[in-house]
């Protein structure tokens, strides 16, 4: 089959058609030909529920935008009677832009419509294919291009450099040693012949290092022989979202090769839905590689095994706040992984409440399919999150637990947007909180790193900018108690002029301030040759911040703290950014 040529067609449109043919697997063709337009999938889509009067959100409508190209060029019905089957080609770059808006902006590839289709049409599969075709000619949201390029070239989705990764692991190891009062509590790096090689999501390094420390604590308590790799550590795979199978293969291969080099027995994937699906299920196909020399499992299974085998002891009365569980689409719908997290939750929490619908029927967090990286669609995404907000609220829980970093971000955004009184956490945090660790009998005190809590920020000047006076006071007092010189600013203009006058080492910046917003202050700082070296930590409850992270109009902030803030997250982030280490 070859596409009809058309001299009027743009170069990019022609290239899309040429590649379309190569992507037509049996599974894709079967989904493309079998829709009978019964409409049973319509109400399964969160976009439809939020936009009941707009037919362009219906799964079958969206699917038909891709299907009609297939019909026009690769299916006999469209070649014989194109008008009859609504066959239509793509001709111009504008046609491709229009397709981009649908395949990236109106679907999170959550596959909820798939399980509600009696004909077995898997729209998400060919939606992903269409994304890949557009990416191959450079048509994609800016955020998708930024993240893809980071993962291709730096080796992880967030552009974390090797030295920052290692430094964060060392930092978390120090924190752990302090907490456990045991210098042997470490985060081993590149140790060969371990039982477990632990891979993570770069978000953990950049914005949530506590999940790494918590996992390390659990491995410590279990007496595990484990390691983290110095390279090939990112188990996420943006190829799943961008539709780029080459990226999918390259990323998976780096991870597999590193585990093989280290002769690890099991690759443990930290809690991440798309990471789990990509690494365990899709990766071997993309990488064209059979994985026989090591096993792969989710860290949820690892933690559950530790409890079942008596390797760790947990006390569920330490987690008494009511919790509910959000199933990540990739874990639940695509991998059938939904009972293990529930079993684990019931072991470490005393008040677990189910959310309805759940498991494979659960609604998407609405941040899936790479949606968190595409800020141009943020209003659309948050509108479509209405059903998820209602689901969360109905549980009456105060904490929503999810085994997916992407869902943590998606849920956090919608919780703020819909003003829900909830916070998001992961199983690793709850298991670590419930851990019962016997204190070490004779800790060799002298060998333990000593925290010089009182003065560890001495010599640093920190500018705290926030329009909430209480927050300025809270953060300033905390930092001053640890030795820092602190200057307060209550709006953007003041922050910028104080930055010019004092050249602080660090600015903590609220995004939502009257007048010049924190976002604008941050970009102004980065663009000013004299100020761009000042480190910045964004403190926010606003999802639009993602533009700074994913689209990179300027070098991203060094740190990022979600509101509401607490002492631990402020101190951990500030010390990490300023590279303040405990004295040993």
């Amino acid at each position: 089959m070859s596409p009809a040529t058309n001299t009027e067609r743009s170069h990019k449109a022609q290239k899309v058609l040429e590649r379309f043919d190569k992507k037509l697997s049996r599974q894709v063709v079967s989904s493309l030909v079998s829709c009978v337009h019964c409409g049973m999938c319509t109400d399964s889509c969160h976009y439809v529920l939020a936009n009941p009067d707009d037919p362009s959100y219906a799964p079958a409508y969206k699917a038909d935008r891709i299907r009609r190209i297939f019909k026009r060029h690769f299916d006999w019905t469209g070649r014989v009677a194109p008008w009859w089957v609504h066959a239509r080609s793509v001709y111009t770059d504008d046609d491709l832009e229009e397709l981009k808006d649908i395949v990236f902006g109106k679907c999170t590839n959550c596959r909820r419509c798939t399980i509600n289709c009696p004909m077995g049409v898997d729209f998400a599969t060919f939606n992903r294919m269409a994304r890949g075709l557009l990416v191959s000619v450079g048509v994609m949201p800016e955020g998708v291009s930024v993240v893809s390029k980071d993962q291709w070239e730096i080796g992880n989705q967030m552009g974390v450099l090797k030295e920052d990764y290692i430094e964060t692991l060392e930092w978390m190891a120090e924190e752990l040693q302090m907490e456990l009062n045991d210098p042997e509590a470490t985060i081993p790096i590149d140790v060969p012949d371990c039982d477990i090689v632990y891979s993570i999501n770069p978000r953990e390094i950049k914005y949530d290092p506590r999940t790494i420390a918590d996992a390390a604590k659990i491995f410590y308590a279990a007496g595990e022989h484990w390691t983290m790799p110095s390279e090939g550590w990112d188990m996420t795979n943006f190829g799943l979202f961008s539709g780029d199978d080459d990226l999918g293969g390259a990323v998976a291969r780096r991870l597999y090769e590193k585990v093989s080099d280290l002769r690890g027995k099991t690759l443990v994937i930290s809690e991440c839905g798309h990471g789990y699906r990509s690494t365990r299920c899709e990766g071997p196909n993309w990488a064209k590689q059979d994985i026989n020399d090591f096993a792969m499992e989710s860290s949820v299974s690892t933690m559950l095994r530790y409890i079942r085998d008596g390797r760790i002891t947990v006390d569920k009365t330490r987690n008494t706040t009511p919790v509910t569980f959000h199933d990540s689409c990739n874990n639940a719908r695509s991998c059938g992984f939904f009972e293990e997290p529930r079993e684990l939750l019931n072991l470490v929490c005393s008040d677990f409440r189910e959310m309805y619908p759940n498991r494979a029927e659960n609604y998407c967090c609405t941040g899936g399919g790479g949606a968190m990286s595409m800020s141009e669609y943020t209003p659309r995404r948050l509108k479509s999150a209405k059903i998820k907000a209602e689901q969360l609220k109905a549980t009456g829980a105060k904490i929503v637990v999810t085994s997916c970093h992407n869902c943590v971000d998606g849920l956090s955004d919608l919780i703020r947007h819909y003003n829900l009184d909830m916070k998001v956490t992961q199983l690793v945090n709850l298991v670590a909180d419930a851990l019962v660790i016997e204190p070490k009998a004779e800790a060799p005190e002298a060998a333990v790193p000593v925290a010089t809590a009182d003065g560890e920020l001495a010599g640093y000047t920190i500018l705290v900018a926030d329009d909430e006076p209480d927050l300025v006071t809270f953060v300033s007092t905390l930092l001053e108690d640890h030795g820092a010189t602190v200057i307060g600013a209550s709006n953007g203009e003041e922050a910028l002029s104080l930055a010019r006058a004092h050249k602080p080492d660090l600015i903590t910046l609220d995004i939502t301030m009257p007048g010049m917003s924190g976002d604008e202050v941050f970009v102004a700082l980065r663009k000013d040759p004299d100020l761009r070296g000042i480190k910045a930590c964004i403190i926010t409850g606003r999802p639009e911040l993602r533009r700074l992270i994913y689209e990179r109009p300027v070098t991203p902030p060094e740190g990022y703290i979600d509101k509401p803030v607490d002492e631990e997250s402020i101190l951990t982030n500030v010390k990490k950014i300023l590279e303040v280490h405990h004295e040993s």
Partner: protein, 183 residues
Amino acid sequence: MNETIRIGDTTVRLIKGDITDQEIEAFVYYARHNLALGSGFGTAITVRGGPDIQKELDTLGPIETTEVVVSNAGELKADKIIHAVGPRFQEVDLPAKLATTIRNCLSAAREHDISSLAFPPMGVGFYGVPLDLCARIMLATFQEVLRQSPGMREIVICANDSREYEPFRQLLQNFSTTKEYVQ
């Protein structure tokens, strides 16, 4: 296995590593038209090299496909960076444009007395240039340019991972100075 060959006076060496972190006189960065460093290796250049690099680039762009500019490398281990806007995303005449971009990198190196230069596999990965095509064009262009105008001491091909390394290794292994590497 031969991962180092000679073309005339020049050593061509294949390594695996992070191109922005090499002890080398200069390296090539596959740039955007507006010379914004952006993400990927651009992040590494900004973070490790400091803000002055982008500041200098702001005075040098924008440039067209196949054109190159040379900047200082700030606090990076290299002295200079050659920012080359190669072809991308299946664009028209990609092989010819890629060869021209590589030629322009080598002449910029000569003009700036750079005798040791690292190239990434040009345009592979994010920009979608097929690896095999890239490897053949790079070696063919090196051969063509270095024969006509010797003087370069060393060219390093810096692959990011084994997927990128392998096709270059195979080509270098079968390398013969009498054989032309056609595009």
